[in-house]
Symmetry: C2
């Protein structure tokens, strides 16, 4: 068994790396356990314009900076390491099990992030696994659809951004959205509409509509689309379907250890990011009430560490309410 850590962070995305920077800079023995490689979902973003003070940066570049910053203060990052279970011992120590190893720590910060939500329609899983035309990341896969026709699904920020990105590659893009209105930021919706209204635009909208099936022989050849108001079904011939319908939290592995909401988000006290288990904090998109933005995820990680220090100073604080004197930056 490895030597105990002060702090184990589960997840090496923006929330986990924000936590790692602060924990290691404070000289806490810090371990980040990352299922794949650092960055998480943000790695699939090519153009970030809303991380304050960065005019424009790609996801991978931003993550590289964050990793370098945290590791220079000796945070340890283990990649390709999946956590399969957690336990809280009577002495307050926390145990984190991976497939090959067992770690212990005084505090754990859960920052597993979230994953792409599926449409759950026939053909989706089959063509996704085969790499045969179903994708969840426009930034990643757009170049594969040069001069081809694609269908995109969704109405949020990512849906609009990635649809616009795809118009630069595909010969034609049909955006299918189940409502008339878009959840995306207005500046993005304006950009979308400007594109739709261009002369000879290669972008068309199919509103009040959902994709009910993805069909083809060995690869995507068409999407079946249903109008939710008229129930009328149409077929769109295409070479690919991009699914942009949001995220689901990666919280399966903590089920039964901490409390989850109906939709699988980790329940917490939002003032302090405490779960129901003493010493176990939560940060980022996986928690109830998260704003799902890059900088808010990073700040969640930082907040979790600030409150972890409060917990280390006084473990009985765990069950106390909010007090402004606790503000960790105070005198």
């Amino acid at each position: 068994m490895a030597e105990p850590y002060d702090c184990i962070i589960i997840g090496g995305g923006p929330a986990g790396l924000g936590a790692a920077l602060y924990a290691s800079r404070d000289r806490f023995k810090t371990l980040v356990l990352e299922k794949f490689y650092p960055g998480g979902q943000i790695n699939t973003t090519d153009r970030i314009e809303n991380y304050p003070a960065f005019d424009k940066i790609s996801g991978p570049d931003l993550i590289e900076k964050m990793v370098n910053q945290a590791t220079q203060f000796d945070a340890e990052i283990k990649t390709s390491t999946e956590v399969i279970g957690l336990k809280s011992h009577d002495n307050g120590m926390l145990q984190v099990d991976t497939e090959d190893e067992m770690f212990t720590a005084r505090a754990v910060i859960l920052a597993p992030g979230s994953a792409y939500r599926n449409l759950d329609v026939p053909g989706e899983e089959e063509f996704r696994n085969a790499g045969a035309g179903v994708s969840y990341c426009g930034t990643c896969d757009a170049p594969f659809f040069k001069d081809r026709k694609v269908v995109t699904v969704g109405g949020g920020n990512t849906a609009v951004e990635d649809t616009l990105h795809l118009t630069k590659f595909a010969s034609e893009v049909v955006m299918v959205h189940r409502r008339q209105e878009f959840r995306a930021a207005r500046v993005l919706v304006e950009e979308l509409m400007a594109k739709v209204n261009e002369a000879n635009s290669n972008l068309n909208l199919q509103l009040d509509s959902v994709v009910t099936a993805i069909e083809g022989q060995g690869k995507v050849e068409r999407a079946i689309v249903k109008n939710v108001k008229t129930d009328q079904e149409t077929t769109i011939d295409c070479d690919g379907v991009f699914v942009f319908v949001g995220m689901v939290p990666n919280t399966e592995f903590v089920k039964g250890f901490v409390d989850l909401s109906e939709h699988g988000y980790i329940k917490c006290d939002p003032a302090y990011l405490r779960t129901k288990v003493p010493g176990v904090f939560v940060a980022g998109d996986c928690r109830v009430g998260a704003a799902m933005q890059l900088v808010t995820a990073v700040a969640d990680g930082v907040n979790a560490v600030m409150w972890m220090k409060q917990y280390f100073r006084d473990p009985s604080w765990w069950n106390e309410g909010i007090k402004d004197e606790l503000a960790p930056g105070g005198w």
Copy 2:
């Protein structure tokens, strides 16, 4: 009277600029009212190493980037504009009064930040106002004390950082701290101790001690220091006293409009940053429970805007509890 805004942000520091970026990027008509010039306290910091993804940057450089980023999306920033009062009208519109003008908006984000805390000892005010040896900002004023002797007071991050900075200029630094232990991050305390233990170090600690008076003829000539355990008083001859004992929130102007805690922090629902007045949010160091870090202040501003959008979609949400479906980044 000016045309109504969607969003008025009071305070142009990191929290206010984070909010301004998100509000303007979402095409909300956005006004930032700043008492002095953008940046607030962070302008007095020369070396920031804990804003994730920036290895090292100065406060003024970071603020310049944030201002440029927000104004490129048309956020309006009025400097040298002090807010003197707020009102909520029956129709839900909010009124913001400055000395010269009156503005209205659908939502207000309070982000006034905080100011230096005083020692409240004889001589402090007199010498401060005269620019005669009392300072609250090592980064700003250290060069004025080249080859001179100074006393610093405090034990937090800023106290340690700025004391170390001063040792590069002053011939001798005496750091007075009322406890044995430091609140500062361990990495900083280690750096401090290494400096103290250098051969012929120009840094000495006077622990368990407080400054009780600052004396001199027209300028600082000595500090009177009392040991809190023995009550013994000593005199330290010096040319300057640097006071690093924390911050107080700049919330005098909202007293009676929103609720304040005993120490003057704005009370809010930390999940959504809502105050008791519908449409009035709070962000940054001025609120109860703030972690008092740069990135957490920025994220507060972003969070306030995300929840402001929820309020605009459904004003009745103001009095509802937390629901994970509300997560604004959801589908």
